[in-house]
């Protein structure tokens, strides 16, 4: 080794090789092939996904609506300010991001994850409204089509209002009743 040209101990060679092996090589491989690296540690598998950003045109934008059904009431849209205020990136809340991820999952795990979220919404709702008993929570989505509909807005993106969209743009992700006895009542309202 030419000492004048390099400044490195065995520790530097070892650390550099490890970082190259666990970070540089995987981000190249995953970035170029979009293939999951077999037997790679779970934490690192998630970490190396850094390059797939805005890679496809966006024909449809989904926004989500959270509704609750109080005992003796009708489906009511939640004011999300009481549940989630964090907007990580874009005009969407952290809960929207969570539901978006469940919507892109396989149907069954996605449903189970929303079930856990629905239970959390119930607990939060009942802490805020102790007089009400919740029968169910449901998740709706609204589809906004890129193009003439939303390409010329007057300002930044705002989630469409459920009352002002046509029924063909609204879909039900899932409904989550909380007690067997409430299932019949909920089914009447669907």
């Amino acid at each position: 080794m030419d000492a004048a040209k390099r400044m490195a101990s065995w520790k530097d060679y070892t650390l550099c090789s490890l970082v190259a092996l666990l970070w540089i090589v995987p981000i190249i491989f995953h970035g170029l092939t979009d293939v999951k690296i077999p037997y790679f540690p779970r934490t690192l598998s998630h970490l190396i996904r850094i390059s797939k950003l805005f890679h496809q045109s966006q024909a449809v934008w989904s926004s989500f609506v959270y509704q609750v059904l109080p005992d003796g009431g009708v489906w009511t849209t939640l004011d999300l300010d009481d549940y989630s205020v964090l907007e990580p990136f874009g005009h969407r809340r952290r809960l929207d991001r969570i539901v978006e991820l469940t919507a892109s999952d396989n149907p069954q795990p996605g449903f189970v994850r929303r079930e856990v979220l629905a239970e959390w919404i119930r607990d939060r709702y009942q802490a805020l409204n102790p007089q009400d008993k919740l029968l169910a929570v449901r998740f709706l989505y609204i589809r906004s089509i890129s193009g003439s509909e939303i390409a010329t807005p007057a300002g930044y993106w705002r989630n469409p209002d459920l009352r002002s969209v046509t029924p063909d743009r609204v879909g039900l992700l899932s409904t989550h009743p909380f007690a067997p006895s409430s299932r019949v009542e909920v089914s009447k309202l669907l």
Binding site: M7, A8, L32, L47, W61, F89, R97, I98, A151
Partner: protein, 303 residues
């Protein structure tokens, strides 16, 4: 190894481990700490949701990608303490106080967030995690005689090379993903469509109303060509200034058109400091030291 292969391999190792002026890594650490602190200051009303049991967090039974559950959300009362330590470590790095210890603390806090809350871990968070992990491993500086016969601080280049490589790979692979499996090459309206939805700012809405469709296509192909050309722009020394300017323009455009992506842009712009010539950085920091009172941390190790 045959002589024909040994020579390029030796040159490559010389390049990776050569002694370099520590100012580039110092400036990069300073820039990333500064942008990270600004990014964390973004959500004062939402720390409790994000960090504590008050917000929604998945349980072990329904883990999402990246979730390990080694760490739980904090109790509500612990949130201010955590933030004090986390933001305090970043502030200390910016001020040049106990840099190595504070870098470890910052890395530990970032790792905790990464494991505890994968839902909001984006490329930006991942790059901070990796950058601060590498800053933790940075070897010490030594005072050596330079080729010009002057004593100066020098440091092994490998952490800098790793971060430079990360920047180049990140951009280049982002470009490749847009070509395949993405549709940036075949669909001239990708950027136009992406500017309409939930990322749209007032500026994006204004541009959507007033720019012709072909202008969006031009911007789209500018971004794509830049991303694919990043290896040439940042590896060929003469083109580095052009690369830095184009990177700045691209990130400014993204920040203008996409809500809150300014924090990602700031990170990437500071990342490009890793390619600025050390003597230029010394001129800039020297000027700052002379003109802005209190600025001294960037030049702590300079001779």
């Amino acid at each position: 190894m045959t002589p024909s292969l040994a020579k390029p391999a030796t040159r490559f190792l010389d390049f990776v481990f050569e002694p370099v002026d520590p100012i580039r890594l110092d400036m990069l650490r300073w820039g990333l700490a500064f942008s990270y602190l600004l990014y964390l200051c973004l959500w004062p009303e939402s720390y409790r949701e994000w960090l504590s049991v008050e917000g929604f967090h998945y349980t072990r039974d329904v883990a999402v990608a990246g979730h390990s559950f080694y760490f739980s959300p904090l109790p509500v009362a612990a949130v201010p303490w955590f933030l004090t330590v986390f933001m305090g470590s970043l502030f200390s790095i910016i001020c040049g106080w106990q840099t190595r210890l504070m870098t470890w603390i910052c890395f530990a806090c970032t790792f905790y967030l990464y494991e505890m809350e994968p839902v909001t871990m984006f490329t930006l968070n991942k790059l901070y995690l990796v950058a601060f992990a590498i800053f933790c491993l940075v070897p010490g500086t030594q005072r050596v005689m330079t080729a010009g016969g002057v004593m100066a601080w020098r440091q092994s280049a490998w952490p800098l090379r790793i971060l430079q490589t990360t920047f180049i790979i990140h951009y280049f692979c982002a470009g490749v993903c847009k070509v395949w499996p993405g549709d940036w090459l075949t669909n001239p309206d990708v950027l136009w469509s992406q500017s309409q939805g939930l990322y749209a700012t007032d500026a994006a809405a204004f541009m959507l109303r007033h720019l012709p469709r072909w202008a969006w296509t031009v911007l789209q192909y500018f971004a794509l060509v830049f991303e694919l050309a990043v290896p040439f722009l940042f590896l060929w020394r003469r083109l580095v200034p052009l690369g830095i300017v184009l990177n700045l323009l691209l990130q400014l455009g993204i920040a203008l058109m996409m809500y809150k992506l300014i924090y990602f842009g700031m990170q990437i712009v500071f990342f490009s400091l890793a390619f600025v010539d050390a003597s230029t950085l010394r001129h800039i920091t020297g000027w700052l030291r002379r003109t802005v009172p209190g600025v001294r941390s960037w030049t702590l190790r300079t001779s």
